[in-house]
Subunit: 415 residues, 2 copies
């Protein structure tokens, strides 16, 4: 059966707040074995509320609506629902007891505005709200359920679990969820990924979906038949095919995968950041336990800081400039020497929007990696605004570190 979520409220349409209920309900339904078919957001407009509900009644959808049950003048859901269901709006005694009871428990008299919350469509079953004043309610169209809940997330969530899900289960059978898993990758595009995985020639049993998430690409594997075994064997083949492009299974962002690879490798790291201004260190230290591998990061915005903290020579800065292969190399080898770490990574570049030139436009970035074997420099040209250039730079740096750490034999195996 199709299920629709209807979110009601002007504040959800003018960008004032994010509608977190939609995602929460989508996930909660998914976990309970249901699929949210669609979600719609409409304003505090009586005619649109009524028309939308009539549209989904006509389509035979189970309805979960949130919002517009409050005590103030712009809370008009109950009246519009009554119209859509061709029912009268009446004072519901059970709801009135609940509303008054809520204020009684708080030790306050019930304001008249709140008594309005007990005006519900005739035939509606009341749904108790243990966390707030607005009772929800429940109706049926041709035995298909329609739930109306307050929009306050905590109230909605509690009522969904206690009041909605048990009633949904009695009228709509849950499906067997399709076994699925998500793999996170970095350094390969969606199109290349699809081309590469098409070589595996999965039959109709396995469906693959691709999604770009920042600079990472996610592969969702769904086993349409064959159950968890089909999923696992497809997953194993795909992981093998992905090689070092694979960050891991959900949740595995590039910073997490890099921190994890560093932890396992036992390598100690120092950073020298110019254009990323601390972003690489921030992404690594977001991870708990990062003190085990990060000795330091020097955020060297000024040339004086590059000289003093990294030992970059005046000659390099004068002759090649702060954004250059030579400076990146000097930064990496300089910080490695001072920090006495196994590896050191340095970045310098033009994040923009200012500071670009014909020779070194905005987006020009040099990344250097110093190890006991020497120092290597790579150059990049990223497009996008300042935030994008900084993010792509940080991700390219993290991926380099991750690959070096993965190629190192794990500490635990060295005995």
């Amino acid at each position: 059966m199709n299920i629709v979520c209807i979110s009601i409220g002007n504040e959800l349409l003018n960008g004032e707040i994010t509608d977190t209920n939609k995602r929460w309900l989508g996930r909660a339904l998914h976990e309970a074995g249901y699929t949210l078919t669609e979600a719609i957001t409409i304003g505090d407009d009586s005619a649109r509320i009524r028309a939308t509900i009539e549209y989904y009644i006509a389509g035979g959808y189970a309805i979960i609506a949130t919002g517009g049950l409050g005590p103030t003048g712009d809370d008009i859901t109950a009246r519009a629902v009554a119209q859509a269901f061709r029912l009268r709006l009446v004072l519901n005694d059970e709801a009135l007891v609940m509303v008054r009871g809520f204020f009684q428990r708080m030790g306050n008299p019930c304001p008249p505005g709140n008594e309005k919350q007990a005006l519900l469509p005739q035939k509606a079953q009341v749904l108790e709200n243990s966390c707030g004043t607005a009772p929800g309610f429940f109706l049926r169209h041709n035995d298909i359920p329609a739930f109306f809940l307050p929009g306050v997330p905590l109230e909605m969530q509690t009522m969904f679990a206690r009041q909605v899900l048990p009633r949904l289960r009695t009228s709509v059978p849950a499906q067997e969820n399709i076994p699925s898993k998500t793999l996170y990758t970095f350094g390969i595009s969606e199109a290349e990924l699809e081309q590469r995985l098409s070589r595996l020639h999965f039959k109709d049993q396995i469906q693959l979906r691709y999604r770009l998430d920042g600079p990472q690409v996610l592969v969702r594997i769904e086993a349409l038949s064959g159950g968890i075994d089909a999923l696992n064997s497809a997953g194993a083949l795909i992981k093998h095919e992905l090689g070092l492009f694979l960050l891991g299974e959900e949740p595995a962002t590039l910073p997490e995968a890099t921190a994890s690879a560093l932890c396992h490798s036992g390598l100690c790291l120092a950073l020298a950041e110019s254009c990323t201004g601390g972003l690489i260190a921030k992404l690594l230290t977001d991870q708990s336990g990062s003190s085990a591998f990060l000795e330091r990061s020097a955020v060297t915005y000024a040339n004086s800081a590059k000289r003093d903290m990294l030992g970059v020579s005046v000659q390099v800065l004068m002759q090649h400039g702060a954004v250059s292969r030579e400076c990146a190399a000097a930064m990496a080898s300089g910080i490695r020497q001072r920090a006495k770490t196994d590896i050191a990574l340095a970045v310098t570049g033009v994040a923009g929007p200012n500071g670009g030139s014909a020779e070194k436009p905005v987006g020009t970035v040099f990344i250097a990696l110093a190890t006991a074997k020497g120092t290597e420099v790579r150059d990049f040209t990223f497009s996008g605004d300042r935030a994008a250039v900084r993010k792509y730079t940080a991700y390219a740096a993290l991926d380099w570190i991750r690959r070096v750490a993965l190629q190192q034999a794990p500490v635990s195996r060295i005995q």
Copy 2:
């Protein structure tokens, strides 16, 4: 005219990700003088995409749709749109040049999967995507515009500003909005804010709304009558009442306000970060022009880094520990001495989840500020998880820097 946003993608319905595009578009339209009438989310289902577009064409809605324009097999928007508009799907030469050009700029050949992105409905006008491979497109139904954009937020946002808004303005007149502005504050709670501003005794002309946004509190001022003059005079009174709690008018986050105050003050800053691991530097260097005031930041996770980069003595580390008033003070004065800056700020603390003790539980943080007058240390106990402790610490640090910079006479006035 009614406007609908259509978000396309299964991942938006099963709770995998939050649809941030809806809120962003709602706000962007609002700021441009338009009202988003409704927003709908549907899955990667050709029949539903087609039926939804037909429904809104029939209702005379302007359409802004996002998602499903990627290079892989589950990206089916263009074909479904062609069906809804009764148009053939054809290879669009202009789009093909754009897709190939994107790869050319990156120095890569264009994979065949990506060439699929140039298959568009006949009559569609191509919308350039400067940040990604998927071109958008544009059609009309009875002179009403319909825009189809990629779902990747950065690409969508750039295209909305450059491609959508100018075309929307030529076909749909913007409305008069209620004059409103948002003030950003830091360091004062919603309840305190409401109490403080209730002293101003605004009549019904002015409506105030409060909203918590991370550690900042936003005050939205709406002039229900009296127009822009009423708004401005209420705004002036409120700003005066807020004093240093005011960060500014939208958009004015604490990092932006701090960077702006530093720029105006002419003060030069150095940072030493332990538990925030580069976050404070990252937040400041997010702002363009931060090289004017940030000399360096030393991310000193290890004690060796605290000694070497900041000159913290072994005695302080042994006697008081790395998380202590004494260590914070030594870090701040040490980095100030080495960086030769006007002010230096240092943080050290227990971000968690590990590392806490009975005496110094998770959330214990010391922040020190060193100036020519000496060094001051403040201690905090923040609650929440690692990310929350790091964020609150960074915000407390930024606010301290901001207040010091504001109390400094602006450089431009010293002549």
